[in-house]
């Protein structure tokens, strides 16, 4: 956190000054470790074993916050007797189909009315192969599971098939010995962390879990975070001040670009992109979200969907034509960025827009990225600088190897200069879901333009080209509501800058007849009388005021600072904060009071906007047949979940199992110490010759790649370097690509501090300056010593400081829930000296392929 989010780290230091204990678990000793009370080195890719060990510690010593666990989680809920755990099936859950490498989750469901339910819920869950192909897990960022009826519960937690007991059995084998054996952590250090976490939780205390999004970059990334969630729920740390799970995201508005997604499988507000199989009508699409008969807040999805369609197609969208639902293109599977790159290599894609993103350096498997771009008709690069993704045709490593010949590369490239953050106005959504409006400081120079300008005018021009078309397929463009007001700025007249505030008003939503901005998504109607582009953002323009522009000084507010910017939903700063009060609505303790029930006023109150219906009393019990919001009881804080409970066990929505289970990374030097199943059986692979994976046990020849590597950011740079390598004052602070190795590895391989090393995988070989440091240390894993090396990934061939890109080493293998690549752990070889140049580079990699017989074709992978 000190490395990648230094300013956020001030709050950790402040907590530390007030007595908090800071624990840092990381493969390498970083600037965060330097300031932590305890640093625990760990083998990259073993996090579930480590956290699972803590879950086991908590459960076997009954250290959980029992009142919270019984009332607020699904610990007491009883699961189908058909469920079989990984303990029974050596690393697989029941329902696995080896053909498709997916699960039929019907045996994972809750017990009651199981016959009926398995039908209904299996339908809910859809076909898991489709779910994997569409990164359905990402929708679950706010979609909870849907629960119908009232599954049986055993509040004593003694029923052998209640979630609590299943969880306890599942993690029983995650003993301190197994943690030490798998993670390379000493049992003493592991227990120190486990004890500190447990002791600093429950009624009077809370523990925060902070991760950076390297956690997502694993073939089991979602399950890493799930393990953290289980632990935080067991210890009563969710929805309470000082607790929670905090994802520290890495880009100024990456939260915003997920909420208002430029993602293939989502529409604004986590509505799914319709797929051709299941969503051919508005009703099918809406029902897929709201699940008629289900409980929780998604029951209003009809209004959210209609308001979006109305915002897209305005007057053309009417109840009679299903609000132009048919205009939405349909997805049919994986259209993610890695699939698309493979399609580029295969010649199926014509044009590519790159918007402030530099995949030639920043995406896994850089060579595939660049070869893909070199096989397009055209690329439009919009950036501040002449980045590598704009110059792949003349400067990429493949030009040196002869794989890209400029005179034979047909790709047209448009490098369009972009406006910077100071040269346009608009909102960023930061990592705590808070929108902050930026004022424009000055006009951009020359031809620099905002994305707002570019896309508004591109849309205008494309629409002009289709004007008069009678082809039905052009209606979505011609009927598009695209009349944003423009004003002066960099362009004049018809080339004016669109008014960002007008766009934000559309996102917020308004009453169609009057133009009155909506103050809450509860005002959205499904009859076309209101429109709004992103229902979770409704309220950002409440009362016609740009709430994101609020700037009441922090010093003049309480610590929640609700009058600075605006957080979705409804300006809530902490989600699920109903859980900060006990089932009767009283704070769990005075120290940790946050939101509580005011008996006199008969409403929820506190330091934050309650994440609960304001006047629903804690004693409220839904009728037996209640649906939707009304089915959420007064003591059920997790209102987006169908049963209002925090999910320790997840019967629906996850591709790779209801509970996190340790699997080895796709590339690992070790056999899985826990189960016969080596790696995530449901992961998404692209088995192609141009995407070979290093062999791992039980495959042979894994010793060709004896070392583990991991990558991350340096404080001084930003991701792929597009905003730091071209900035002199940052470039000089970390001017060269380097690799960190332990003194022991340096001795083993003859590496000299300050000299060069070559790092090899089956994708490529890169060179880096060597930093020999005790900040990396060998670990003893499964009875033998393992060396880990660390690489930053900020360099490419452009900018003021250049170097090889660590992403060139990484193959494409994805988490099945969200289709994010495993780029935080892999295996490699390390050799002293510089890498070969020219065609010899590919020969070196080919030699490794011959020696390792790496996986390049079809075939069973462990």
């Amino acid at each position: 956190m000190a490395e990648a989010h230094p300013v956020g780290f001030q709050w950790v230091m402040e907590a530390k000054a007030r007595g908090a204990k800071v624990i840092h678990v990381d493969p390498r000793f970083t600037r965060t470790s330097a300031l932590a009370d305890t640093y625990v080195p760990i083998r990259a890719g073993s996090d579930i074993a480590f956290l699972g060990g803590i879950v086991n510690h908590v459960l076997s010593n009954e250290l959980d916050f029992r009142d919270y666990v019984v009332a607020y989680t699904n610990a007491a809920t009883i699961v189908s007797g058909d469920f079989r755990d990984t303990d029974d099936l050596d690393g697989l859950f029941s329902g696995f189909d080896p053909e498709t490498r997916t699960y039929d989750p019907s045996s994972w469901q809750y017990a009651e009315e199981q016959e009926e339910r398995s039908a209904a819920q299996a339908d809910d869950s859809g076909d898991t192969e489709t779910q994997r192909e569409t990164a359905a897990g990402l929708q679950s960022e706010s979609h909870g599971m849907q629960v119908q009826g009232n599954p049986p519960r055993d509040p004593s937690l003694q029923h052998p098939n209640c979630v609590y007991q299943i969880l306890k059995r599942h993690y029983a084998r995650y003993t301190p010995e197994m943690v030490a054996r798998t993670c390379g952590v000493s049992e003493e250090q592991f227990l120190e962390v486990a004890q500190a976490w447990a002791e600093n939780s429950r009624r009077d205390r809370t523990t925060a879990l902070v991760y950076s999004v390297g956690w997502t970059q694993h073939s089991v990334g979602v399950q890493y975070i799930r393990t953290g969630a289980i632990l935080q729920l067991l210890l009563g740390n969710m929805g309470r001040p000082g607790g929670g799970i905090m994802a520290l995201r890495g880009h100024a508005s990456i939260q915003g670009s997920t909420d208002i997604p430029t993602l293939f499988n989502l529409l604004p507000g986590y509505l799914p992109m319709p797929n051709a199989e299941e969503h051919q009508s508005l009703e099918q699409w809406i029902d897929a979200v709201r699940k008629p008969g289900s409980k929780g807040f998604w029951s209003n999805a009809g209004a959210y969907g209609v308001n979006l369609l109305k915002a897209y197609w305005g007057e053309a969208a009417t109840p009679e034509n299903d609000f132009c639902f048919d205009y939405l293109p349909k997805i049919t599977g994986d259209h993610g960025t890695y699939r698309t790159v493979m399609d580029m290599i295969d010649g199926q894609v014509k044009g590519y827009f790159l918007l402030g993103q530099n995949p030639a350096v920043g995406s896994a498997h850089g060579r595939a990225q660049r070869l893909g771009m070199a096989n397009l008709d055209w690329v439009v690069v919009r950036d501040l600088f002449e980045i590598e993704s704009a110059t792949f045709w003349k400067t990429s490593p493949e030009v040196a190897t002869g794989e890209i010949v400029p005179e034979q590369c047909r790709t047209e490239v448009f490098l369009m200069p972009a406006a910077s953050h100071t040269e346009k106005e608009g909102t960023f959504t930061q990592t705590q879901r808070m929108l902050q409006w930026r004022e424009k400081a000055l006009d951009p120079k020359g031809d620099c333009r905002s994305e707002l300008w570019f896309f508004y005018h591109l849309g205008r021009m494309v629409r002009e080209r289709y004007a008069g078309s009678t082809d039905e397929r052009d209606r979505p463009l011609l009927d598009l509501a695209w009349d944003y007001p423009t004003h002066g700025g960099p362009g004049d007249g018809e080339w004016g800058e669109p008014d960002a505030e007008a766009v934000l008003k559309e996102i917020n939503g308004y009453e169609v007849a009057t133009g009155r901005p909506l103050s809450s998504f509860t005002e959205m109607r499904d009859d076309g009388s209101t429109l709004g582009g992103c229902w979770i953002y409704t309220g950002v323009f409440a009362d016609g005021v740009n709430q994101a522009a609020r700037r009441k000084p922090g010093a003049e507010q309480g610590y929640v600072a609700p009058e600075w910017g605006w957080a979705w939903p409804a300006n809530r700063r902490m989600l699920y904060n109903r859980a900060s009060a006990d089932p009767e609505g009283r704070p769990w303790s005075e120290r940790k009071a946050y939101v509580w029930w005011d008996e006199a006023a008969q409403e929820w109150t506190g330091h934050d906007v309650p994440d609960f219906e304001k006047t629903k009393p804690p004693t409220y019990l839904p009728a037996e047949d209640a649906e939707g919001v009304a089915a959420i009881a007064g003591a059920d804080p997790f209102i987006m979940q169908g049963d209002g409970k925090g999910a320790l066990f997840v019967p629906q929505g996850l591709i790779d199992g209801p509970m996190p289970t340790h699997y080895e990374p796709v590339e690992s030097p070790f056999r899985n110490p826990f189960y016969a199943q080596q790696a995530n059986p449901t992961r998404k692979d692209y088995v192609r010759e141009d995407n070979p994976m290093n062999p791992s046990p039980p495959e042979e020849h894994s010793e060709v790649f004896p070392y583990v590597f991991t990558t991350s950011r340096l404080t001084e740079h930003h991701t792929a370097g597009g905003m730091s390598r071209y900035v002199a004052r940052l470039a000089e602070l970390q001017p060269e690509m380097f690799v960190e190795v332990s003194p022991e590895l340096a001795a083993e391989r003859g590496l000299e501090n300050g000299g060069f090393a070559t790092i090899v995988t089956l994708r490529s070989a890169i060179e880096a300056r060597v930093l020999v440091t005790e900040r990396l240390s060998p670990l003893r894993v499964d009875g033998r010593v393992i060396h880990q090396v660390w690489l930053p990934y900020h360099w490419g061939e452009g900018g003021l400081v250049t170097g090889d890109s660590a992403n060139d080493l990484i193959g494409v293998s994805l988490d099945p829930n969200v289709l994010i690549q495993e780029s935080k752990v892999g295996t490699c070889d390390v050799q002293p000296g510089r890498r070969p140049t020219g065609p010899a580079l590919r020969e070196l990699v080919a030699d490794y392929l011959r020696r390792s017989q790496g996986t390049t074709g079809e075939g069973e992978r462990p």
């Binding site: 000190a2 230094p6 780290f9 001030q10 230091m13 530390k16 000054a17 007030r18 007595g19 908090a20 204990k21 800071v22 840092h24 000793f29 600037r31 965060t32 470790s33 330097a34 300031l35 932590a36 009370d37 305890t38 640093y39 625990v40 080195p41 030490a180 390379g184 952590v185 000493s186 003493e188 250090q189 120190e192 404080t715 001084e716 002199a728 004052r729 470039a731 000089e732 602070l733 970390q734 001017p735 060269e736 380097f738 022991e744 501090n753 300050g754 300056r769 060597v770 930093l771 440091t773 005790e774 900040r775 990396l776 240390s777 060998p778 670990l779 003893r780 010593v785 003021l800 400081v801």
Partner: protein, 325 residues
């Protein structure tokens, strides 16, 4: 004749701005207290300084000494963050918690932690064999000495004592003679040699404690940016008290390595306006252990030169008078 020098002009405790002719309404002496126990080595100070003071970027080579690629303090580096990787000092008190920093920082409410220690090298899966390791970081800067040799040797009056008690180069006066460079006991000041196109090439450059910002009532750029407030700006008197309290707190917490550097008005430079809390010996951070102002013996030298100087001054005055119409 009597000496121009007053007591403690060149040695010992002194209010430097009063000594430099600023009246009763002068502001309190300003300075930095850099608490390295909470420095995260982010280098925001280096960048913020360069941005505000238009100090050029000039070194694009990797030193391969931990994360320090800024080399040292010099004309193009007015803040410099040292990164020191080393085994820990004396073994910490055994608290029965393997791998804990040399303090029970939780109960003591300390923020220091003395840098997290690693039980790395777990080749035998036991913490005992692990060499404890510390990564120390410290942002160095001009000390704005009470007795500033650079200022005293400056023949042009370019280096001057500001009303804030700080030592500042006046770019429009400096002729680049370089006398100040060897005079500094810390090696802080140097002449800017480049790069081409930079402003003030050829003249002496160093931290001004953001003289222009102080004049506007603002915090110096480095202290303003510092994410953890490792760099604290304020009145030197108050900062000294704060530093004493901080050391006491750390000692209380068992961080016995904590010590102050440059805060003592009786030290070799009369106390620095920018002083430090360190977690190890100053040499470890690349700081001189016992710096002494190089002009300490100036009065003796000055007395010998005085007679000659008076004669020269008289001659100069006469020449002016002689030119009157």
């Amino acid at each position: 004749m009597t000496s121009l020098f007053n007591d403690n002009d060149l040695w010992g405790p002194l209010d430097p701005s009063a000594d430099a002719g600023y009246g009763e309404d002068r502001p309190a002496r300003k300075g930095f207290f850099t608490d390295t126990s909470i420095c995260i080595g982010c280098k925001a100070c280096e960048v913020a300084c360069k941005e505000w003071n238009d100090v050029p970027a000039d070194h694009f080579d990797m030193t391969a000494t931990s994360y320090d690629n800024s080399h040292s303090l010099n004309a193009n580096q007015w803040r410099h963050v040292a990164f020191v990787e080393r085994p820990a000092g004396p073994a910490p008190v055994d608290l029965g918690m393997p791998g804990v920093a040399p303090t029970d920082a939780v109960s003591a409410g300390s923020t220091a932690g003395g840098a997290g220690s690693t039980a790395g090298g777990l080749l035998d899966n036991g913490a005992d064999a692990a060499p404890d390791f510390r990564w120390l970081m410290s942002s160095d800067v001009c000390k704005h000495c009470t007795h500033a040799a650079c200022l005293d040797v400056c023949p042009t009056g370019s280096l001057f004592r500001s009303e804030f008690g700080t030592v500042v180069v006046q770019d429009d006066i400096c002729n680049g003679c370089g006398y100040c460079v060897p005079a500094c006991p810390y090696g802080v000041i140097s002449r800017r040699e480049g790069p081409d196109g930079s402003r003030n090439v050829g003249i002496a450059q160093k931290c001004t404690l953001c003289y222009d910002r102080l004049d506007a009532g603002k915090t110096p750029a480095c202290a303003q940016a510092c994410p953890t407030q490792s760099i604290q700006f304020g009145d030197v008197e108050e900062l000294r008290e704060r530093a004493d309290a901080r050391v006491a707190q750390l000692h209380e917490a068992g961080v016995m390595d904590a010590r102050l550097y440059g805060n003592d008005p009786d030290d070799g430079v009369g106390g620095a306006g920018a002083f430090f809390l360190l977690l190890d010996e100053p040499e470890v951070y690349g700081m001189p252990p016992d710096p002494v102002v190089t002009t300490k013996d100036l009065p003796q030298m000055f007395r010998r030169a005085t007679t000659a100087a008076v004669v020269m001054f008289a001659g100069a005055a006469l020449s002016f008078l002689g030119r009157r119409p």
